[in-house]
Symmetry: C2
Subunit: 132 residues, 2 copies
Amino acid sequence: MKDVISILRHCGIQPTPQRIAVVEYVLKNKSHPSADEVLSSARKRCPTVSRATVYNTLNLLVEKGLLAMQTIKEGAVVFDSNLEKHHHFIDMDTGRIYDISWDQLQVKGKEKLKEFEVTEFQVIMRGRKKKG
Amino acid sequence: MKDVISILRHCGIQPTPQRIAVVEYVLKNKSHPSADEVLSSARKRCPTVSRATVYNTLNLLVEKGLLAMQTIKEGAVVFDSNLEKHHHFIDMDTGRIYDISWDQLQVKGKEKLKEFEVTEFQVIMRGRKKKG
DNA sequence: TCTTATTTTAGACGCTGTCAAGACTTTTCG
DNA sequence: CGAAAAGTCTTGACAGCGTCTAAAATAAGA
Ligand SMILES: [Mn+2]
Ligand SMILES: [Mn+2]
Ligand SMILES: [Zn+2]
Ligand SMILES: [Zn+2]
């Protein structure tokens, strides 16, 4: 994986310590963190970083297409470093969100929806992750 | 459709004027309103109804299985009087949410997800509704 | 009626997310 | 190099969502 500084430079974003702290965490993280979790983690590396800067950086990353935003959980939007198309499974006990790769599910019938022009879709599943 | 008072009685919920105002609106509404929209509408019928009562009533209905809660839109949870299994289409221009009946789409492959026990799922689509 | 249980209300609270203003840093350029 | 400009960060305020509490209002029961 390319290092964070060159990723930012490549997108015309100046790599500041605060942004690096945010990006380092959020882009290497597969756990779909909320903005608040990103803030906490970024503060470990850069204790003075503010909430506004975290939101600014996250929104910037989303704008540049380096990060996806998902609204699949109550209470707060969640950020997703997985840029491939994929589906989601939400464990109802733990709240954890798991990625389900695109080709594991097949969805048929969208073409038949005459009134709707579907530009994106995903399957959202809820249940329990089996142990082990 | 059964009248609201007997629905409430049948579930052991005392039908008060406030609850009737809320339930009357939310159970007959196909437009996936937010709690705030429910509050506004309930106040037309019962101008003094409070925010807490609206939330209490909505949560009660969800608990009793008379109403579904969907977290598919940013900013606020949305309430769904359609209790049949179904999918959703979200118009990215207007924000409106449309129901897609269950048999219009087929989702295959869930059984093959060995690590996950799927108890519910739906397809969420985004795009534009065609005019006319 | 008196007593008790249920319901409603207003307001406070904590959380999410945005915004404006000023401070601070980094470039640009004389 | 120093001054001005541009870019960035922080703070604090703000608005909306959703929950909670305490007190008032209402209904139910004896
Ligand atoms: Mn955002
Ligand atoms: Mn709720
Ligand atoms: Zn994901
Ligand atoms: Zn629906």
